[in-house]
Amino acid sequence: MSPKINRETFIRSIADLLRKAEIELPADVENALRKAEAVEESKVAKSQLQAILKNIGLARKYGVPMCQDTGIMIFFAELGTEFRPGFDLEAAIKEAVVLASSEIPLRPNAVDPLTRKNSGNNTGVGIPDIHWKLVPGNKLKITAAPKGAGSENMSSLRMFNPTESGSIRNFVLETVVNAGGMPCPPLTIGVGIGGSSDAASRLAKEALLERLDTPVDGLERDILEAVNALGIGCMGLGGSTTALAVHVKTAYCHTASLPVAVNIQCWANRHASVVFGGDE
């Protein structure tokens, strides 16, 4: 049995988690941007990367969100089967989002999809979007990954014929060329291959959370090199780094299908995690 956690403490922790995600980039993402700045030869792209690095520093210094698009609230949760919170976790996360929206503050971004009415507090039907995964153990790990619209709008899904796996790279390249400077490159690109249409999309988004400093080979490296050969560069103004990383996640799929999803993330690859419970 895990120690009982207090509901108020939990809400406070999730609101703090959102603050962290909005204000501080993970170290591996910031390092990847520094590296991109160091190797960039285009003066224009270099100036843009320097502005991004300066902006990251100022956001941290003043404790303000790094981008005015503070995103739509997405969480990934790994819930240990032995973890017993003793209260409604989803309701508590929603409350934390409302709290964080007013105290950080966050831009109210959640609207009804048809009437476009804004709830004013970043919650609504289906939002926050929480993805639960049951895992063994007595811990609860929650990752907050607020996602901006400029990059999310450039994502895509294609249902390939099973024999067309050789076209996956070109599909990613077409997606990146069509997006140009609009999703605020340098990008992190998540590719989900297999599963079904919705599972592939989910894998693509999860792939964005992978560390950017792990060595890649095979398909990931192949796509990354091709993407950077396009020369779109930082903000679409031309340059050598269009993407910081490409991560691929796969799942078995039906023998008659090959779903491929591409999730595009802007330079602000925001996410932060917290763990509750455990042995301590």
């Binding site: 300066k54 303000v64 831009r107 400029g150 390249l173 140009g180 031309g238």
Partner: protein, 192 residues
């Protein structure tokens, strides 16, 4: 080339700017996005006078997050929004008013000719909201707050606002279009 400009801008100020140059602006800039553009053009059609001057003006595609304090409005965050959404309305805006610079992100596809001999498009680094807020020294006034906070026209005093990259110059040279064409050629080659 790097340029430091003071508003309001004269035609001579922008004639010397070439695509790819870096610009810093000091003085007054006005925010305007979808709804403000629509209203400006509507009023022009009805022959009504705008409550602000666009003579030599700098327009910023931005929907800021503002906070009202006892001493007035405070900028929390004010990065650029995607300019592509204003592409349809911009040629008319530039025809009727002497707007000399438009600041935004992502470029404005297919309308470079509307900028010729009139205006420049200046690209500001997307997402750099904390940096932008730092360079905005004062919220001078706000018009059309009935459109909502992001859509209203905010008159801002800025100092050394930048770095801005000349994306479309007054000769009609468009960097975004050039980068896109090159990327399409590379893609064709890779597709073999």
């Amino acid at each position: 080339m790097e340029h430091h400009l003071q508003t309001q801008l004269k035609r001579e100020d922008i004639e010397k700017l070439n695509a790819g140059d870096v610009v810093y602006i000091s003085g007054e800039i006005l925010t305007a996005r979808d709804e403000a553009h629509a209203r400006i053009l509507e009023m022009k059609e009805k022959g009504e006078k705008l409550p602000f001057s666009l003579e030599g003006a700098v327009i910023y595609h931005c929907g800021p997050l503002m906070q009202q304090t006892e001493s007035g409005w405070k900028v929390i965050s004010a990065g650029p929004t995607t300019s592509g959404r204003m592409s349809k309305m911009t040629p008319s805006l530039l025809k009727f008013y002497e707007v000399r610079a438009i600041i935004g992100k992502g470029g404005m596809k297919g309308i470079a000719s509307a900028f010729e001999n009139r205006c420049v498009y200046l690209a500001y680094t997307g997402g750099c909201a904390a940096l932008a807020a730092e360079l905005i020294k004062e919220v001078k006034t706000v018009h059309w707050l009935d459109l909502g906070m992001p859509e209203a026209v905010w008159v801002l005093r800025v100092e050394e606002f930048g770095p801005l990259i000349v994306g479309i110059d007054s000769k009609g040279k468009d960097i975004f279009a050039e980068v896109r064409e090159r990327a399409e050629k590379v893609l064709e080659k890779l597709q073999g």
